[in-house]
Assembly symmetry: none
Homo-oligomer: 225 residues x 2
DNA sequence: CCGTCAACTACCCATTCGGGTTGAGCGGTG
DNA sequence: CACCGCTCAACCCGAATGGGTAGTTGACGG
């Protein structure tokens, strides 16, 4: 009650599991800095009511009957980009979590998180953080690498010799070592030898990876092969 | 010791401040799971020696005389994408840290971190994590949002089922069946089963061909899968 | 209740791969 | 000349792969 009353953090919850939803509401309402402005049991209901309540943060279940939490997040962020979405998920839904982050969620909570984790996540987000596990954080960072990396790339000057390039090309066509040997009139052992050097130079461990990298590398250059 | 001797995590350190570098070495060498394979005092020296030592993780100072840690990280990741880089920085160099992450670093350490933080960061990275603060995490996630603008679909590019598509994607990343099984939480036999169907549907006979066809089929679509 | 289909698991088997090592011939360069 | 990189070749071995066959389960629609 002083002259600098921090505005409360309004939090909405979209969760079809009613007990869990109520449990989350209690946790939110137990916070000094936050309050729950609504608990809705479907993405459709949430999207309908969110405009009236304008929460700062939405705890969004990822698995909802009807529209998924991912789709809901995407729509929500399109309509109200300032609203932060924290995905609520059961353990081990990495793929979905990743999709949700792409859709605009800024972090997530595991369903069996303790109350303190929930509070912390809300504060994290409010303070500009992004609550997520190490594993997901890494995947996000990695996805993040490749995108800006394409802006100023110019791949490593990994230069394959003439013979190695011929082999790499055939590997990328899906030929087996024996077929490559026939095609280039070499011994299969020689093909294997070249392959080892190729793996080494390309920093890969199998022909499939080598094929992908090789094709990738000639995509920007003069594709005379 | 037991019959499952985990291989040591080789860590290299690039830090021009010698006392700090030695201090980091001691912390690394104090770990059961890790060891320090070199402490180098410049980016140039690091890049020169790294090929011989092939550390799994590099602790890279962000401010180095001559080539910066950011530039060094970018070059390092171009040459050896499998090496994980943890940026070592004085606090509050957000812009630079962000740049470093874009350059390919997967996380960072504050210079005055405690030994336990250093150990934790190394283990985090080794276990697929990405050590970083809430603030940086959020910026990464946000940068990540703007690029992709899609939400839900799982279009089977050709005729592949959802599961088959997941498998195909991982094959195209060069993963072995066992790794795919781990990643998707399946039995290796199931992966093989899906693979057989994929070969059938794609009219190919090996994973490499499948990878190429799959990548080809999604090249027009979303950059992420 | 039954048929179908996708997803999942399992076992067998011949072949192929990847890794490590070694070595020879050749041409260019310091 | 000695050294180095490229090409070609061979051997060993454990692990991975592809090919075939077969069975269970759950969901969906007849």
């Amino acid at each position: 009650m002083n002259s600098a009353p921090r505005p409360m953090i309004d939090v909405a919850i979209v969760e079809d599991n009613v007990p869990l939803g109520e449990s989350l509401r209690m946790v939110v309402d137990s916070m000094e800095q936050a309050r729950c402005v609504g608990v809705w049991t479907s993405a459709e209901e949430g999207l309908r009511k969110i405009d009236a309540f304008r929460p700062a943060i939405v705890l969004m279940d990822i698995n909802l009957p009807g529209m998924s939490g991912i789709e809901a997040t995407a729509r929500l962020k399109r309509e109200f980009p300032e609203i932060q979405v924290i995905i609520v998920t059961v353990h081990r839904e990495n793929e979905k979590i990743f999709e949700a982050l792409k859709a605009g969620a800024c972090g997530y909570l595991i369903k069996r998180s303790r109350a303190s984790d929930v509070r912390q996540a809300i504060l994290d987000v409010h303070n500009g953080g992004a609550p997520m596990s190490a594993e997901i954080a890494r995947r996000v960072v990695e996805a993040f690498h490749s995108a800006p990396a394409k802006a100023a790339p110019e791949e490593a000057a990994v230069h394959l010799s003439v013979r190695e390039t011929e082999v790499a090309k055939l590997v990328a066509e899906g030929l087996a070592n024996k077929e490559i040997a026939d095609r280039l009139d070499l011994s299969i052992e020689t093909v294997r030898g070249h392959l080892k050097k190729i793996y080494d130079k390309l920093h890969v461990r199998c022909r499939t990876e080598a094929a992908v990298k090789y094709l990738d590398s000639i995509r920007d250059r003069n594709p005379f092969g």
